[in-house]
Assembly symmetry: C2
Homo-oligomer: 407 residues x 2
């Protein structure tokens, strides 16, 4: 390692005997930030006393930079107190890094939006609505249903479209359960006041770091309910995020110029363009019945975040441009990331052309997810100082429906 | 007062010299619940130590009933310790009763949904989408932008529809600022786990109480952005709620049979029908320049909550029927409540037929809200034991745009 930067140190929350504490992961070890702050080895301010990353996020970018620099030095110099270091294998699974205030899901991958537009609105000559290239289309998801990687995905029930147009709905467990491959960021700094807006620089400074995110979706429920107010129960049952947040500072080497935008967006959005992240993202599917001990699953999609049309700062500038309140711990996701070719599509809706052409996962075929299937999202990119860094994965296993809506 | 029930005692949060405390309002007095709990006069459990109603909501219906009964007895018997009672006029304005976890806005008034459907989709033969009578259509709003009554409404900026179809968007402050007259409820009890569903009885038991809610809307921004994911910046800039929550227990006399539903909904929703609340709701508009000292404003709409198509328990059962997590402090609103006739419509979009026919407010005319206008939502209904009770009002004054999106 050169340039004063240690291995990738993503932030999360681990459970110690005394309760949950903020931590960073260093390979197979977790470093207890509360212990380090208590020993005077990290900047103070009380953020490390919180049971999650909420107060660190609220502390804002100056504190993030100080904490990051102090951690880098401690790890590089081998000066970590033994009591602050734990083997991850000895701890229970990590918790959600922070309970999100609001969760916004954008729709910023052009190939995804165009393909879904064609599938959901086959009679519409323009699969992208006119506003799509003018502003980052998005909606609010259910913050309370955001869970940590590893949480089971209970198959949701609801109203499926009627067999014939105008018929009675068909109520029961979804038949079209899907994953969505997404990258998300967490914001920090003090809450804005109602009516405040953010400049491009202010927005960028509020981005703490990124996580992989799986926005599980029930396509039949979504198709039946989404007009005119957007997705609701088709999405709100569960959204899984990775347990370790990679700080933006660790992704300097992954920055690339953002895609060209035509037509050029309005000035406040144009100012927030510039860079995006080029990360390789993968979806791994391990079908029901496969033994995790000897089947790691099959890669069913591999794509890049580099051609997501709207950048993270643009998404945040847009969302705040009407004076909406931005709070520390808010979660902002790209929407499904897809490329144009087969094998680059980040959800089954696209990969199977609406459930028509199955994809292959080892010996199995899938149009939609089946009970017992496990989906893992992975990501990697160039590390500062050379080599690659891996984003923390996000995984979930589908479990049978438990009741709820019934016909 | 007969039957052992005192005046209406709604719950909120007042600011005392030592900080915010849970309180109830008794006419022009606030009663400090932390002081009463500290003196052993209310059930314990630590909920009164919280700076808002969050822990009282989490404590669930058994505690709510005990607290309510104890308060009723203390007020009826005149046994309140003097130190626990404050004149509201001597205190700063109350705070938001609770920071909502998630905020869901339904679309449950049939007249509203049909009128808006005709205005937004004039070429569609069916203004109500087919799913509308099958399930309570709704979407997630921005919880972070929920504020207490009295907060200023800064005019939001954003992308207005182009002058001609296919043209460049027109970016700047909204020209179509609107109010929305809504009734909302707050839920409590412990958080559900992902995958849990709620029975009709479980859902009903989780409803703590109701508040008036104004879902401020920028119709031009909303019209341009809402396809296909629903309203986002057209709504997310601000949502105002009343400062005092009327517990459901105080509204027993306002219960009426719910509207007949044709076709009958699926069994889990049918079971949650039964009753609804018959409250008279009003919108008062005081135009810019009017002196609050001698102009209380004009009633520009008066309607009833009794014909909202989907009941509160149905809304909650539906939202949880896919296993979504329900948390204490979640906020659930009806959507705009409108009747069919002129003068009964709960937003300007409807009342002005899309900005075409102005409404009159005293000497002024309005198609949309202007800077300086004040909107107050009021409500009243029958009280237990006779007489009427007034819901706490929700008010906001429009202030000029501050920047943000610009063309």
């Amino acid at each position: 390692v050169t340039g004063g930067r240690a291995a990738h140190l993503p932030y999360g929350v681990v459970r110690l005997p005394g309760g949950p504490v903020p931590a960073v992961r260093d390979g197979d070890r977790a470093i207890d930030l509360r212990a380090l702050a208590g020993a005077g080895l990290l900047p103070g301010g009380g953020w490390a006393e919180a049971p999650d990353l909420g107060r660190l996020l609220a502390a804002g970018p100056d504190v993030w930079a100080e904490v990051d620099a102090a951690l880098q030095a401690l790890v590089l110099d081998g000066r970590l107190p033994a009591g602050a270091v734990h083997r991850l294998a000895d701890l229970p699974p990590p918790l959600l890094p922070v309970t999100p205030g609001d969760y916004v899901d954008f729709y910023s991958s052009e190939h995804h939006a165009a393909t879904v537009g064609r599938l959901f609105r086959p009679d519409d000559p323009d699969p992208l609505v006119p506003a799509w290239r003018q502003l980052p289309i998005g909606y609010h998801g259910r913050a309370g249903s955001v869970v940590a990687s590893g949480t089971d995905v209970v198959r949701p029930a609801g109203h499926r479209p009627p067999a014939a147009p105008g018929g009675a709905p068909d109520v029961g467990p979804t038949r079209e359960l899907d994953f969505e491959l997404e990258l998300a960021f967490l914001t920090g700094g003090p809450p804005t006041a109602p009516g405040d807006v953010l400049s491009a620089a202010e927005a960028e400074a509020r981005i703490f770091g990124v996580v992989l995110l799986d926005d599980w979706s029930a396509r039949d429920l979504q198709r039946h309910e989404y007009r005119p107010l957007g997705p609701f129960l088709g999405k709100s049952f569960l959204t899984s995020v990775a347990c370790w947040v990679t700080p933006l500072a660790a992704l300097e080497a992954a920055r690339v110029p953002a895609p060209r935008q035509d037509p050029p967006p309005a000035p406040h959005l144009r100012a927030a363009g510039g860079w995006t992240l080029d990360l390789t993202l993968e979806v791994v599917l391990r079908p029901a019945g496969a033994d995790p001990a000897d089947d790691d699953g099959s890669v069913v999609a591999r794509t890049s975040s580099a051609d997501v049309y709207w950048t993270m700062p643009q998404q945040l500038v847009h969302a705040a441009s009407n004076g909406a309140v931005v709070r520390p711990g808010d979660l902002w996701a790209t929407g499904t990331i897809s490329g144009p070719e087969a094998g680059t599509q980040g959800c089954l809706l696209e990969a199977t052309q609406g459930g028509v052409r199955p994809v292959r996962a080892g010996a199995a075929e899938r149009t939609w997810l089946e009970d017992g299937d496990t989906v893992v999202l992975r990501g990697h990119g160039p590390a500062v100082g050379g080599g690659r860094l891996e984003l923390a994965p996000v995984a979930g296993t589908v479990r049978p429906a438990r009741g709820g809506a019934s016909g």
